[in-house]
């Protein structure tokens, strides 16, 4: 069984998500770089879809992702440019937040640098996704909206909080 989602804060400006998958990394890579695949899984909460998923996966290529709520039609998205493309092991891109009609107070303007690294051992692929924010404040704001990949983060924080020796 794959390990559960693990989230850490490697530095003031970073959030790191680690998850493993029972599949070759080429497949995990495809699932993150082919729009028709990404639109099948990267949907968010029930009742949301990903109507826009455009990706020109090469260095300097642009991408645009948008999610939509079936219930009220609200949309938000991310967009940016790929800065590193090394299939099937490493993908890096900057990420701008497009608030659409959501009222989340996520920082708009400063991009976040997202690095996806995939390694494979005995048929299990480990995904390490690191998000580096422009400032500590931007990270904390993004984390607090819960709309980035760093969802388990607060758990670690709260665990820490009630276990001060580990903090």
């Amino acid at each position: 069984m794959p390990k559960p989602l693990e989230v850490t804060l490697p530095s003031d400006r970073e959030v790191r998500v680690v998850r493993s998958f029972n599949a070759a990394r080429e497949l995990v890579w495809d699932a993150h770089t082919k729009p028709e695949l990404m639109q099948k899984w990267c949907l968010g909460p029930p009742g949301w879809s990903m109507p826009v998923c455009e990706m020109d996966v090469r260095v300097g290529g642009a991408y645009r992702w948008r999610w939509k709520s079936d219930e009220d039609g609200a949309e938000f998205g991310f967009y940016g440019t790929f800065s590193e493309v090394k299939a099937p092991s490493k993908l890096a891109h900057d990420q701008y937040y497009d608030p659409g009609d959501m009222d989340y107070a996520m920082p708009v303007g400063d991009p976040c640098l997202v690095t996806l690294e995939l390694s494979e051992q005995a048929g299990v692929t480990t995904l390490v996704c690191t998000m580096k924010f422009a400032t500590e404040k931007a990270r904390d704001e993004a984390v607090s909206t819960g709309m980035t990949d760093g969802m388990e983060i607060g758990y670690a924080r709260i665990d820490e909080m009630f276990n001060p020796k580990a903090a």
């Binding site: 998958f21 029930p46 709309m147 924080r157 709260i158």
Partner: protein, 122 residues
């Protein structure tokens, strides 16, 4: 610029939780209320420095000031923390759902390639 929605209120909560000293203060308050002087002691910090952290926690609604007018003890507001945990849990679930869908998709892809490459099934 910001509407006062549940999510923006939580921004203040998480910004308050982002600092290790403030988390340690909350951990201390989880075991009972304490005055500013009592809080300053174990952290080896000046009272003004501690007061600054306490203000951030107060503004976020994570702590409040207790009854005793003399000591003005700080106490934990567990409800606010619960709200934050609830929020996180919801989004952790969402991402776990994303990744579980990805697990399923990967299983599908694993089953496919050999058949798809050699023969095209109708």
């Amino acid at each position: 610029m910001q509407k006062l929605t549940a999510s923006t209120r939580l921004d203040a909560t998480f910004a308050a939780l982002a600092d290790p000293t403030r988390r340690a203060i909350l951990a201390r308050l989880a075991s009972g209320e304490a005055s500013v002087a009592e809080l300053a002691e174990p952290f080896d910090m000046s009272q003004p420095a501690i007061s600054k952290h306490l203000k951030v926690l107060e503004r976020a609604g994570l702590i409040s000031i207790g009854q005793d007018a003399q000591r003005r003890p700080r106490k934990l507001e567990p409800q606010k923390l619960e709200e934050a945990v609830h929020w996180i849990e919801r989004y952790r679930e969402i991402w776990e759902q994303n990744y579980q869908r990805l697990d399923a998709l990967l299983d599908e892809l694993k089953a496919k390639p050999a058949a798809a490459k050699r023969k095209r099934k109708k």
